[in-house]
Symmetry: C2
Subunit: 183 residues, 2 copies
DNA sequence: ACCAGGTGAGACAAATTTGTCTCACGAGAT
DNA sequence: ATCTCGTGAGACAAATTTGTCTCACCTGGT
């Protein structure tokens, strides 16, 4: 029976998210295949990580497209983005810790495209008066990534409920911790 | 001349934050010492990581003590905490990615102590009416760690200015992205 | 001058991981 | 029934990393 490449990547992501130092053998066993087969599909560990990077970027781009960042208010668009990106959160949490991907000067073009699109969303929110202007869109973007990673880890460890994922991130990012006075 | 153990740990943290897969040889060279000397001070890679964990916990505890989390408003205390914890941010960013530290059931007791203290701060803010109650103290705590890590990485990559560290984290965490209407 | 302690450089074996290969097996197609 | 393709299992060498050891050197104190 032929191996489902996508399923292998997803189980690899799940394992590597928990244990970034997992060997090719462990990755193979986690996917339920032999190391030989894993090597037939991915030339080596580098190729595997690169494939995971591709998958992560692709899932993020899908999420961005589905979130229609240019429509409605920036706040609503941001909530949609967080909701749509949740399935990719675990993979994303792994990729951001894989600093091997960023240590060489030539990082994947997909990340800058994503950064630009998300940054543009925050900029739109600032220009429309929704968002504060004393924090930069770049920081908002980085903070979004950081919160997604933190939430993914907290869910994995069982410290917070998975169903609260979207609410936790979006509410904190948009409204912060301060109690809002009823209008 | 005797080696400054603390300085070795700090340079190791700086290197491992950028490249988590650095070998003992690279760590030694980064510290300006030989691999033999590095081994004389830290029995192996595990011992080195554990020592970094100890250092990180200790620095966080120092920061917590200096921030006097029980005094003034929770918001003011939180701002002090972020400010005091900034020197440990890089080390912290490395430690949270070192999931080796958490994969065994017996994690360092120091982390739970820190979590408890920080969680208590957020709970105090909720009970005093400063902070919203639809997000849990646990999530606030995780989000703080996530934002600290994200900020540390962004500063390392030059995407944001180091001098904005405290302001970025505290403002986003406390006030969120939404523009506040003048009272 | 002498000594003691700490260090650097290098050699070495052991352990681990990786990449490649061969061979046998089994499911599905013809 | 036969063929073919993909897979599992295992062997194997190469590369990497680690841990340990020895020896020479240097510096500070006596």
């Amino acid at each position: 029976m032929s191996v489902d490449r996508d399923q292998v990547l997803r189980s690899a992501a799940a394992l590597l998210t928990r244990k970034g130092s997992a060997t090719m053998d462990e990755v193979a066993r986690a996917a339920g295949i032999s190391r030989a087969t894993l090597h037939r599909h991915f030339a080596g560990r580098d190729a595997l990580v690169r494939a995971l990077e591709e998958l992560g970027i692709q899932e993020c781009e899908t999420a961005l497209a589905a979130a229609r960042l240019g429509e409605d208010s920036a706040e609503e668009a941001l909530r949609r983005l967080v909701k749509e990106i949740q399935p990719a959160a675990g993979l994303l949490a792994f990729l951001v810790t894989e600093n091997q991907l960023f240590e060489d000067d030539a990082q994947h073009e997909g990340w800058s495209r994503l950064d630009d699109n998300i940054g543009a969303l925050f900029r739109r929110g600032q220009e429309s008066g929704e968002f504060r202007i004393d924090l930069t869109p770049v920081w908002f973007t980085e903070a979004l990534y950081g919160l997604i990673g933190a939430a993914a880890w907290a869910v994995l460890d069982g410290r917070v409920a998975a169903k609260d994922f979207t609410h936790m991130i979006a509410e904190l990012l948009i409204g912060g911790a301060r109690r809002r006075v009823e209008p």
